[in-house]
């Protein structure tokens, strides 16, 4: 279990906001960091970097493909570009990412904000629900989704200083509860155990993480104990941990604000089947449908990602 757990439901911040603040700090320390945005810098929160480092910020206008190619050229010139837009718009330029960034294996950090149903009122056309599936399919592309503001900050620092190769980072518009202490250490590719139990194991990511944790707390009142694992790295996924946990629990769940096809649910299923593990798995997420407008809370309730809904479905699943 992680030693950094320090849950503070009163301290909430969107992961895009935590990213924007961290970006300014890494900008000071790492002169090779450059930032590009496609007319969404106020929304993606890259605007802080833009103000502080105008010479290293490139406003590309509403032209994501050109932003992707330009970032690749900057990376090929020794820079570490963070290119920012809504997750759906940037990953929608899949072919440009595929060749300019992925095939070149450059140190680009593709930042996709406003992930999932959590964007709320804007509705489906602005809602990244397939971005993990797309990015996971590209060889050598890391896929990350932090689960709280602290993890977001540490991940941003890691990406500015250490990581080699291309990465896609998925961030939320909505606030996330703070789960970790300030001394949290981010480890690429490693799941983080928030809580240990015997009956059920939750694998959760991003905007769905805290609600999964809260649902697991509620289940304890029914005498059902659960392990909750934060999967911040969807690729490469922590296969060893998944296998170990899957073998020692009666039921498994994946919880994600993304289509259950191609996202965390698929990634965990792949590990289970390849390792011959038959523990029943329920994939909670967006069930191969389009989203719609509404508050983030109403959408999480309607599509099964609120704490009560996760609790209900888990209970049914456990008793089945």
């Amino acid at each position: 279990m992680t030693k950094y757990l320090k849950i503070n439901p009163a301290a909430q911040k969107a992961s895009r906001a935590a990213f924007g603040e961290a970006l300014v700090h890494v900008g000071e320390k790492h002169p090779e960091v450059v930032v590009l945005d496609a007319d969404l810098s106020v929304s993606t929160k890259s605007v802080g970097f833009a103000k502080k480092f105008p010479d290293r910020f490139f406003q590309m206008g509403i032209a994501e493909a050109n932003m992707i190619g330009t970032a690749a050229g900057l990376a090929l010139s020794g820079k570490t570009p963070f290119l920012c837009s809504f997750g759906c718009f940037v990953t929608g330029r899949f072919e440009t990412i595929r060749i300019s960034i992925a095939y070149n294996q450059v140190n680009a950090r593709i930042i996709g904000t406003h992930a999932g149903l959590g964007i709320g009122e804007d509705g489906y056309s602005q809602m990244a629900l397939e971005d993990i599936a797309l990015m996971r399919s590209l060889p050598g592309m890391g896929v990350l989704q932090p689960g709280d503001p602290i993890e977001t900050k540490k991940m941003t620092q890691y990406l500015a200083s250490h990581h080699k190769g291309p990465v896609y980072v998925r961030l939320t518009r909505q606030n996330l509860v703070t789960l970790f202490s300030e001394d949290y250490e981010f480890e690429y590719g490693k799941g983080v155990i928030l809580k240990e139990g015997k009956d059920i194991a939750f694998f959760a990511t991003g905007g769905a993480l805290y609600n999964s944790y809260a649902a697991s707390e509620k289940l304890e009142k029914e005498g059902i104990t659960s392990t909750v694992i934060n999967i911040h790295t969807l690729k490469p996924i922590d296969e060893d941990l998944i296998v170990q946990v899957a073998k020692s629990h009666k039921r498994l769940l994946t919880v994600e604000d993304h289509n259950i096809i191609g996202g965390l649910g698929s990634a965990v299923s792949e590990v289970l089947s390849e390792n011959g593990i038959g523990t029943p798995l329920l994939r909670i997420g967006v069930e191969d449908i389009y989203g719609e407008s509404g508050t983030a809370e109403d959408l999480y309730e309607k599509y099964g990602l609120s704490t009560p809904k996760i609790y209900e479905r888990t209970l049914q699943f456990f008793q089945s």
Binding site: V34, D55, R56, F58, M60, G61, A63, A65, N66, I68, G69, T70, A71, A72, G73, L74, A75, L76, S77, G78, K79, P81, E95, T96, R98, I99, S100, Y103, N104, Q105
Partner: protein, 282 residues
């Protein structure tokens, strides 16, 4: 340069251009697939870049101050590989590994397998953005090197090209020199019939590029245009090089069928005879 030196230079470059065409045809024939039409049309431009204008060092391929060359029209890579082999980046016999298993000479450029090509390309429309990123990188690094980017005229039907057409003037990238190999052909036919590009020069001028239009087979015009494009006046440079697809081989010239098929060994030999005769006739 004296008149004699100039004549000597064009003669030397003319012979190199012939050799590049021959190498490209040899490797495509051996590979049994590839794109001869767009390789031959670019041969004179490539000769001017790799054997006269560009600052580079085949013995130190990743020299940090080298001029960068981005082949956005990745389909034309046989002529790039020919230029690199001839310049000494790798042994000439390696060209026969083109498109074969385990070769670093992929059917379209692959930067990871072969880092001496500046970027992977071949999915059309992306190279100009990448070249723009390199031009911004050069500026941030306080480097004087230039970024050359070769585009196809069919390629610029891609929308992403026009995103960069807008952005490079905004960034005042006068270290970016783009060249369109305007050979008027693409796989399904002539550009005028598939998706007309006219008025090509006016389009780039309207986007506020420094535009020159030349004959892309006349070395003195190519060299003069590249020289003029060295001037720094806060605008990116565009050279529209009017060329003939399949240039130098009578049965390939402006014949769309030769866009993307390999010659037979007999056709290759006939083509090489023509290329040699053409150079030696005067």
């Amino acid at each position: 340069m004296t008149q004699d030196q100039t004549t000597e230079l064009y003669k030397k470059l003319g012979l190199i251009a012939r050799d590049l065409r021959i190498l490209a045809l040899k490797m495509i024939t051996e590979a049994k697939s590839g794109h001869p039409g767009g390789s031959l049309s670019a041969a004179d431009i490539m000769t001017a870049l790799f054997f006269h204008t560009m600052s580079h060092d085949p013995k130190n391929p990743l020299w940090e101050n080298r001029d960068r060359f981005v082949l956005s029209k990745g389909h034309g890579c046989p002529i790039l590989y020919a230029a690199m082999a001839k310049a000494g980046y790798f042994p000439e016999e390696e060209i026969y590994t083109l498109r074969k298993i385990n070769s670093r000479l992929q059917g379209h450029p692959d930067h990871v397998r072969f880092p001496f090509v500046e970027t992977s390309s071949g999915s059309l429309g992306q190279g100009l953005s990448i070249a723009q990123g390199m031009a911004l990188g050069a500026r941030l690094n306080h480097k004087k090197y230039k970024i050359y980017c070769l585009l196809g005229d069919g390629e610029i039907q891609e929308g992403q090209i026009w995103e960069t057409a807008m952005s490079a003037p905004k960034f005042q990238l006068d270290n970016l020199i783009a060249i369109i190999d305007a050979n008027k052909g693409q796989i399904d036919g002539h550009t005028r019939n598939i998706m007309d590009l006219a008025p090509l020069k006016k389009k780039w001028e309207a986007f506020n590029w420094d535009v020159q239009e030349i004959n892309g087979h006349e070395l003195h015009e190519i060299l003069a245009a590249l020289d003029k494009a060295q001037l720094e006046h806060k605008r990116p440079h565009m050279i529209i090089a009017n060329t003939i697809k399949g240039k130098g081989v009578s049965f390939m010239e402006d014949n769309i069928e030769w866009h993307g098929i390999a010659p037979t060994p007999e056709q290759r030999d006939k083509a090489i005879r023509e290329l040699n005769d053409e150079v030696f006739k005067d």
